[in-house]
Structures are given as structure tokens and as C-alpha cells.
């Protein structure tokens, strides 16, 4: 038997309605409320405990509520977490999604596809349901089937075939027509007034920070994604999809000397960059600004990676890690050169 834990809000756990919405995380023995119906559907999976939390409590104390729920979950020694179904309830759906997304074990939840919780579920599986509780009878067997597939460690098929909402992973398949034929169809359809697409962007926008109050007092750091490394690439920085970033001491010289640094970036012609590495990391100009007193100083190390085919999630992590080091080192400004 696979041990599973079920998560419910105060209402479905039978603790009360809105008056009980401030209930902090609580453990109940075995399946409760809809958990009983779910348990009846499950084969090879036992719901050993139910965790419940008031919707308002979760919304107002998210961090504390999550931490407590995760502690309770760990104490159960469960291999699977099932949350909801939350139907169209936004607060409940969000709590289900956050817990499922954060749990260190396999997790799935269920809610209406327009529930704002869907966007918070991350890699956790979300079973689509009706918008209200009338869809309970339909939702439970579908949650059970997916739970069994996950518990068995089976590789999941396409979301439509397995009954979960797409999570945003892109997977290849062979279409019936070539890309050219599909392009002609899409264009003719657009010209006829119906615009469709096979891929949408979903880019985030980073707001510019406040200006540095006084550059002449600020320590400046040089950071680059141009793949600039000491000659010979001693730490084998990859030319594409670097898994991390590197830190190297900056020479106490007027600039980066040709022949002592190179770019290993695989996405542009590095000939000119290698002729004069200052074109990638302008230490020469920075030293001039330092000498003239226009900047307070230059941080004694530079940070580098190859920004080429790097997933946004990885770049975000690099940025956070580098920024944390620079902040701790008292750096106030960064010159980030991109390619």
C-alpha cells in the first residue's frame, strides 16, 4: 500500500464554514469528507491522514501555514499528497496548489481550470474539475486514476490523455503536416480573421532599479554573459547552456590583456572579442573612470557565464546567486555586458 495524505480546507474537513476560516493547520486521522469518497476509488493507495487549514489562515500566514503543513506531511512518512478538489474556490485552490507545488513528494491537486491556484501549482499535477461542488462525483475517480499512475511511478502521457492540465513543459511530437503547410493554414486563417498560434511567449519584464545615488562613492562590479574566461578556459565553461557561473580575480592592471582572456561563447563570432577582451568586459574604461574619481572603486573579481541557450529559470538563479555575493561584498553597481 502506498501511503497518501489528503489536504482539505476547513469546510470540506468538516471544521466549519467561514467562521472557521482562521483555523491553523490541523491533522485528522484517516480520510475525511470527500477523502472518504476518494479512498473508495483508490486502489493500492491508503489515505493515512488528512491535513486541513482554514482558507483565511493560509492566505494571511502563507509561509507559516506551509511550513507547518510540510512538517505534518513529513511526520506522516507519506509518498503521495492529494489536495482538494477545490473547484472554483480561489483561496482554497491557491492553498492546494502551493502545498502541492512545495511538497517534497509526488503531489496532485484538482480544481477548475480558471481557478487562480492553477498558476501556483508549478510542476504539480492539476486535475481539471467543474466550477462547483456538483462536480465532486466526476472529479474523485479522475483524481484517483491519476494518483494511481503517479504512485506507480509510471511515465505520464499527454495531459489530455491522462486527465491533467498542461503545466507548460514543451514536448516534441510529429504533426500530420509539415511546418510549412501548418504555416500556410495559420496565415490564411489569420487573414480570414481567426488568429491562432502554436506557441505563445510568456516573457516577464524586469523593472529597472532606482539609479545609484552617487557613483563616485560606489563600488562597481563587472559581470558578463559573454563567456569571457582566462585563456585556455581552465574551468571548462561550456559554449552553450552553462550550468552555472564562474568568478575570477580581476587583475590590478589598466585593462584585460589580449591573449590572457578569451570568450568561449558559442553564439557569436568571438574574433573581435578575443582581439581585445575589454570589448566584452570593459575593465580599461572602468579603470579610467576609477582614476578620474567618477566611480568609487572596482570590485576585485569578475563574474562570467555563457548566456547561450540558457533556460530563464537557470539565468534567474545565476542572477540571484551573483547578486547575493555582490551585495555581501558591498558592491552598489554592476556593469552587465550582454552579447
Amino acid at each position: 500500500m502506498v501511503r497518501a495524505v489528503h489536504y482539505l480546507n476547513q469546510f470540506f474537513a468538516g471544521l466549519g464554514g467561514e467562521e472557521a476560516a482562521e483555523t491553523p493547520p490541523t491533522r485528522l486521522e484517516g480520510p475525511v469528507g470527500p477523502g472518504r469518497g476518494l479512498a473508495a476509488e483508490l486502489e493500492g493507495i491508503e489515505i493515512t491522514a488528512t491535513l486541513a487549514c482554514g482558507d483565511d489562515y493560509f492566505a494571511e500566514h502563507e509561509e507559516a501555514a506551509l511550513a507547518r503543513l510540510l512538517d505534518l506531511l513529513q511526520a506522516e512518512g507519506a509518498e503521495l499528497l492529494v489536495c482538494g478538489p477545490a473547484f472554483g474556490s480561489g483561496r482554497y485552490g491557491y492553498a492546494c496548489a502551493r502545498l502541492a507545488a512545495t511538497a517534497p513528494i509526488a503531489a496532485l491537486t484538482a480544481m477548475h481550470e480558471e481557478n487562480p491556484g492553477v498558476g501556483a501549482a508549478g510542476a504539480a499535477l492539476v486535475v481539471p474539475t467543474a466550477v462547483n461542488v456538483a462536480g465532486m462525483r466526476d472529479a474523485l475517480p479522475r483524481m484517483a486514476r491519476l494518483a494511481e499512475a503517479v504512485a506507480a511511478g509510471r511515465e505520464l502521457g499527454h495531459p489530455e490523455d491522462e486527465g491533467y492540465l498542461p503545466r507548460g513543459f514543451r514536448r516534441n511530437r510529429h504533426a500530420e503536416e509539415t511546418g510549412a503547410e501548418r504555416a500556410v493554414d495559420l496565415l490564411l486563417s489569420k487573414l480570414a480573421g481567426e488568429t491562432r498560434t502554436e506557441v505563445a511567449a510568456g516573457f516577464d519584464r524586469v523593472p529597472p532599479p532606482e539609479p545609484v545615488p552617487d557613483l563616485s562613492e560606489a563600488v562597481l562590479a563587472l559581470v558578463t554573459e559573454a563567456g569571457c574566461v582566462p585563456q585556455g578556459n581552465p574551468d571548462r565553461l561550456p559554449t552553450i547552456r552553462a550550468p552555472g557561473w564562474l568568478r575570477y580575480p580581476l587583475p590590478d592592471e589598466a585593462g584585460l590583456e589580449s591573449g590572457r582572456y578569451e570568450s568561449v561563447h558559442g553564439g557569436f563570432d568571438v574574433t573581435l572579442a578575443n582581439e581585445d577582451p575589454n570589448r566584452l568586459m570593459p575593465l580599461d574604461v572602468a579603470r579610467t573612470l576609477e582614476r578620474e574619481g567618477r566611480i568609487g572603486g572596482i570590485h576585485d573579481a569578475f563574474y562570467t557565464t555563457t548566456g547561450n541557450g540558457t533556460p530563464v529559470a537557470a539565468s534567474t538563479r545565476f542572477g540571484q546567486e551573483i547578486a547575493a555575493e555582490l551585495r555581501d561584498a558591498g558592491v552598489q553597481a554592476v556593469l552587465l555586458s550582454g552579447t
Binding site: G122, A123, H158, P159, P166, R167, G168, F169, R170, R171, N172, R173, H174, A175, E176, E177, T178, G179, A180, E181, R182, A183, V184, L186, L187, L188, S189, K190, L191, T195, R196, T197, E198, V199, A200, A201, G202, F203, T239, R241, V264, H265, G266, G267, F268, D269, V270, T271, N308, G309, P311, V312, A313, A314
Partner: protein, 394 residues
């Protein structure tokens, strides 16, 4: 408008490959457990009965008749000397078996594999020019036996009149010019010097006017054969007079290097499309990264001149993350064909034989490469829409 005939001949007519100094020649057939490495280009064997060159540098393509050998591909392979690799040319494979075979059409053709051995003193640019010209010459010479017999099929390419009420559609074909080893050629002239943007007849594209010298990501590459067999031009040709009017082909530059030049290239291409009285345009992409910005700028410029667009791009999304897979995007790009995610990995396959060089660029034995990213398979996510691969959201 002139007519052009494409005559198809059986692969049985594959002619002998002449002895070439510094080149190992091997024929690899479908189903053989072979991995072909360091592939630069793929070319369909072609010859002209009137004696004009199959890949003209002076006379015009797309006139008269051209013979093609069906089901045969000439593949050029060259491992450039590593210490002189300014653009870090990318790994490029063709698998004749295993899961990677589904990703390239060359697993289903009889391949004349030319392995060019790097001469110690030659520069990369010299080696590249030698390999490129020799490959086109070989593709022409192995098609010569077709000149002595009758074809199995003759197709005629001529755009007749079409109903004025049908929407007019142009193909905007982006060609790279980024630096040595990263050039596409128009009538033998690199893209930056070929007077782009430039409108050409659809048949010119199919008839060897554009050849490949661009060796960026293998999956995102436009090898010569994909111009010769161009699905986009053929589809638009087939639909001419039925669902649309084919307005023409515009060759445009990719990889301009400054923001201003990129914007200008996009605007000029859009003006040319508007000048062809196109209601809509399909914008294709060559290579990746920087050129994805060019395609998005072109899309925006077209929409601003009133030419509605659909763009074709490959995605480069980490299969384990939900990060967007597009390198660049503009809100005007609301109609996008995805030809697949180049970053997905293909499970490991152990070929019995490797042709083209035993070691991959990173030094791994090619036979034991382990899982291979889709991006390393020649043409797998071709951004002219040559193949059927796509990506969907899971």
C-alpha cells in the same frame, strides 16, 4: 513569367563519385546501423540537360529543365581544426537507425557521404570553401547519368493567373550572414553581399539559387537540400489559385550586427513584401538566437506596413522547466508555427559504425555519445517548415 521543369529520376541512376584528393567517399543506405558525424551540408543531386550548372553563380536558376535524383543525398562532413574555431561550429549528426533516425529525412535516403580531411596548413575558411564547392560539384556529377535516360516524373513550375479575390501570400526567407562558417549563399555570393532583401522567382529557390554554408545549430540549419525541396515554396505553389495567390519569395538578411541595421533589414524586407502586394507573409528563420530577434523585428515591420504574418521558429526550451522557449518575441507575433523544441534529448543509441569522424567535438566517442539533444540532428527543427516536428504543451 518563365516556366521551369523538374524531372525526377530513380536513385538507381546514382553515378560514380570521382576520386577526390583528401576526401573519403562512402555510400550509406537506409537501415544501416550508422551514425554520420560532423555533417556540414546536405545536397540533392541535380544536373541540367542544357549543360548549364546545377548550382549557378552567373546564369539564372528556375528556367528550362533540371534533373533530380530521387532519394539520394550528398552529405559533406568536415571536422574543422579545433584550435581555429572562431564560431565554435556545432555538432551535427545524421543517425540512420535508432530514435534519432526519425528526426532527419536523411535516414531515409541513400547518402553519398564525403568526408573531407582537414589539411594541416589550411585555414577554416579555405577548408570550408573547398568542401562546399566540392560537395555541389559531386551532387552535380552523380546526377549526370540522368542525362541519358527518361524521367519517372516531370513537374512544371509556372504561376498562372489566379482569382484576384484570393489572399496574396509571400514567403520571406531569412538567410544568415554572421561570419566565416555562418554564411548562406545566393548564386554563390554570401548573403550580406547578395543585395538583400531581394525578390526572386519561387522556382529559383527550388533550383539551386541558394546554397548553404551556415553551420550553426544542426537542427536549426537550412541545408541546401531544404532550399531545393522547399516545402514552403512547394505548398504555396500548390495552393496558388486554390486558396491563395503566391506573391513571390523575398530573400532577406539575418544576423545584422547592430540594432539599427537589424531594424533596417526588417523594414526593408517588409517594404519589399508590401511591394509585391502581399496581404500576408510567412517569415522563416535561419539558425538561432540572434536571428530570432531578426525574425521578430521582421514580423513587427510587416504588420506595421499592413502585411499580416505567420512566423516559423524552433523553440529552445529546457525540457524540465516551464521557461518560455522563444529567444525573442514581439506582441505582433500572434501566429507562430513551432517546429519543435531543439533542447529535448533523444535517448542513447549505439551505432555499429561511425562515418565522418569517430570523435564528437567535445571529444566523446560518437558511438557512445549517450542521449543527444535534438539540436544536434541535421535539419530536425528546420525553421522553413520542411518537416512535421512540432512542440506542444504538457
Amino acid at each position: 513569367m518563365t516556366a521551369w521543369e523538374l524531372a525526377t529520376f530513380s536513385s538507381d541512376l546514382l553515378g560514380d563519385v570521382p576520386e577526390l584528393e583528401g576526401v573519403d567517399v562512402e555510400i550509406v543506405r537506409p537501415g544501416e546501423p550508422v551514425r554520420i558525424t560532423h555533417v556540414l551540408d546536405a545536397v540533392e543531386p541535380r544536373a541540367r540537360p542544357d549543360g548549364r550548372p546545377a548550382f549557378p553563380t552567373e546564369a539564372r536558376a528556375g528556367e528550362g529543365r533540371t534533373n533530380r535524383l530521387d532519394g539520394v543525398t550528398v552529405l559533406s562532413c568536415l571536422d574543422f581544426p579545433a584550435e581555429e574555431r572562431p564560431l565554435h561550429e556545432q555538432e551535427s549528426l545524421v543517425d540512420m537507425g535508432g530514435p534519432g533516425a526519425d528526426l532527419t529525412p536523411f535516414s531515409r535516403t541513400t547518402n553519398v557521404v564525403l568526408r573531407f580531411r582537414a589539411r594541416p596548413q589550411a585555414s577554416n575558411e579555405e577548408l570550408e570553401a573547398w568542401a562546399r564547392r566540392t560537395t555541389l560539384d559531386v551532387a552535380e556529377s552523380v546526377a549526370r547519368p540522368t542525362l541519358r535516360t527518361d524521367p519517372v516524373e516531370v513537374e512544371r513550375f509556372e504561376l498562372g493567373p489566379a482569382d484576384e479575390s484570393l489572399p496574396s501570400v509571400a514567403a520571406l526567407v531569412q538567410l544568415s550572414d554572421l561570419g566565416p562558417l555562418y554564411y548562406q549563399y545566393v548564386y554563390g555570393v554570401r548573403a550580406a553581399e547578395a543585395g538583400l532583401p531581394r525578390a526572386i522567382e519561387p522556382a529559383e529557390l527550388l533550383d539551386g539559387a541558394v546554397t548553404c554554408g551556415e553551420y550553426h545549430w544542426a537542427a536549426l540549419r537550412n541545408p541546401t537540400i531544404f532550399f531545393q525541396q522547399n516545402r514552403l515554396v512547394r505548398t504555396l505553389h500548390d495552393e496558388h489559385g486554390k486558396r491563395l495567390r503566391f506573391a513571390g519569395v523575398v530573400l532577406m538578411r539575418g544576423y545584422e550586427q547592430t540594432a539599427g541595421e537589424k531594424q533596417q533589414a526588417a523594414e526593408q524586407a517588409a517594404e519589399l513584401a508590401a511591394g509585391l502586394a502581399a496581404d500576408g507573409a510567412i517569415v522563416t528563420t535561419d539558425a538561432g538566437g540572434n536571428s530570432h530577434t531578426d525574425v521578430m523585428l521582421t514580423c513587427r515591420a510587416c504588420e506595421r506596413t499592413g502585411v499580416r504574418t505567420t512566423v516559423i521558429v524552433a523553440e529552445m526550451a529546457d525540457p524540465e522547466s516551464t521557461s518560455p522557449g522563444l529567444t525573442d518575441w514581439v506582441p505582433e507575433a500572434d501566429s507562430v508555427v513551432s517546429v519543435g523544441n531543439a533542447e529535448e534529448t533523444v535517448s542513447a543509441w549505439r551505432p555499429e559504425r561511425v562515418v565522418g569522424g569517430d570523435l564528437l567535438l567535445d571529444g566523446t566517442p560518437a558511438a557512445e555519445a549517450g542521449p543527444v539533444p535534438v539540436r544536434n540532428y541535421l535539419g530536425a527543427t528546420n525553421q522553413m517548415g520542411q518537416l512535421a516536428l512540432t512542440a506542444t504543451t504538457w
